[in-house]
Symmetry: C2
Subunit: 251 residues, 2 copies
DNA sequence: ATACTAAATTTGTATATACATTTACCAGAT
DNA sequence: ATCTGGTAAATGTATATACAAATTTAGTAT
């Protein structure tokens, strides 16, 4: 089965063998895979070599392993959510529209000094204090999104004493009489950091969508800066874009 | 330095030690880090333990290692490109606007049978043949984007004989008299597959933006389905979104 | 039956060793 | 100077072994 004369290392061959088994559905979600010692015997290699192959599968989120229990094919994505970016309706509405139960909890509220990445978009000068609110959002009690919100301290200091359980947008609108208008959003893909990995319940860092936005009111004043990390295994984003009349070239 | 009585494994401690060194800028981009044997001596552990720590840094794209040469702090992102998704101006225009030189090459053109993921958005029924065009796009001769385009075979079969070097949009417009109107785009974060990892020149799979779109003409007929993988270390995306008048809740 | 204990199982960490493969470097011959 | 070949150095692969830690299983005493 595992051929030493091939140019590929043994552990890569074992890794590929598992991918084939999964492709052929001989291994399905939740299945326990043979133990390290059994695999070592099966492929006639040492346990350490098997472990290298399995480790690669763990890193890619294909299997999960638990000391004392064994290794299992990871639960696959059962439900997918799609967020529309054309009009921001808010996490709660997006999740409700999918028929699931949204929730969030506040992890932290504190006053910090803004660095350039926060101060520039908020157009701060002089007073660099900002209110930092770290929240985790859930869909059906499963963490979906970790969000850090930054607000200029002076105009928003009343927020510190407020009940945040209804979310920030009603506070902006009702307590501060702001008319929210648009958001400038930039996103990219990142690996989850250790806090995110833990919060999302991943076994190892996984690719996530990192979305930063600046929220503006109707007279183009920046209200908040948000850094969001969405788990990408269950959440997708949608944008409907128009095309200009004339396009010069590819794609 | 490395304390066995701590609850953290030694290799994790070594991994964190490197992160601190990088944070404190005692290690900078391009620096060679000490050899495995030197580190093993320094931390009083075996070479294999050092390797476990270094492997973790490789997986996260923090260092690169070359057999016979050594280990080096990975080159950091020097230039960032931002693609706007509000109006699609095309890869070429986006890159040119950033002051760089765009290019692409055609990796493959072939006729294949569409599966549901292709046939559904193209609204195919009966004839499931599609033209599959695999292209790699470059910015300043560096691969930026791998794109697979799917076209219904019958109406577009003339494409097979055409010169694709000017891109697809001029062909749609001039050779097929189509008026391109809008695109429905969905994206998420994925790890690069082996082809993408190789093409992008990564040492290990890295997080990428996976963007699928369906391009429509002015009478809402689907023209093409595209699957794109963008390297996320240098490319970001921007969307400016509006907010509806009334928002019920968070974020 | 229930509760506790002990053993077996399984994965995690760490060491030690050997050899392979790639690269860099230097000495010596041309 | 230039090319060649050998050697050293560095990382890659693989084996073998030991013990740790977590979980399950089985058994035993109450």
């Amino acid at each position: 089965m595992i051929q030493p004369q091939k140019r590929q290392p043994k552990y890569v061959q074992i890794y590929h063998w598992f991918q084939e088994q999964l492709q052929a559905e001989k291994l399905k979600t939740g299945d326990q895979i043979p133990t390290e010692t059994a695999l070592a015997r099966q492929f006639n290699v040492t346990r350490m070599t098997v472990r290298k192959a399995l480790h690669r599968l763990v890193v890619e989120g294909i299997i999960t392993r638990t000391r004392g229990k064994g290794s299992f094919v990871a639960a696959e994505t059962n439900k997918n959510f799609i967020f529309s970016l054309n009009t921001i309706t808010g996490f709660f509405n997006d999740i409700r529209r999918s028929g699931s139960q949204p929730a969030f909890k506040v992890n932290r509220v504190e006053i910090i000094q803004a660095d350039a990445k926060i101060a520039d978009p908020l157009q701060l000068s002089g007073d660099l204090r900002v209110i930092y609110i770290l929240r985790t959002f859930f869909a059906d009690e499963e963490p979906a999104l970790i969000q850090g919100t930054y607000l200029p301290y002076e105009p928003f200091k009343r927020v510190m004493e407020m009940d945040l359980s209804k979310g920030m947008y009603p506070i902006y609108r009702e307590n501060f009489n702001l008319r929210l208008h648009h958001a400038d959003q930039t996103f990219t893909a990142v690996m989850s950091n250790s806090f995110e990995t833990r919060t999302f319940g991943f076994d190892s860092p996984q690719p996530c969508i990192f979305l930063e936005w600046v929220l503006y009111d109707d007279i183009n004043r920046p209200i908040e800066v948000c850094y969001c990390t969405y788990r990408s295994d269950k959440y997708k984003f949608n944008v409907v874009s128009s095309l200009p009349v004339q396009l010069s070239m590819a794609p």
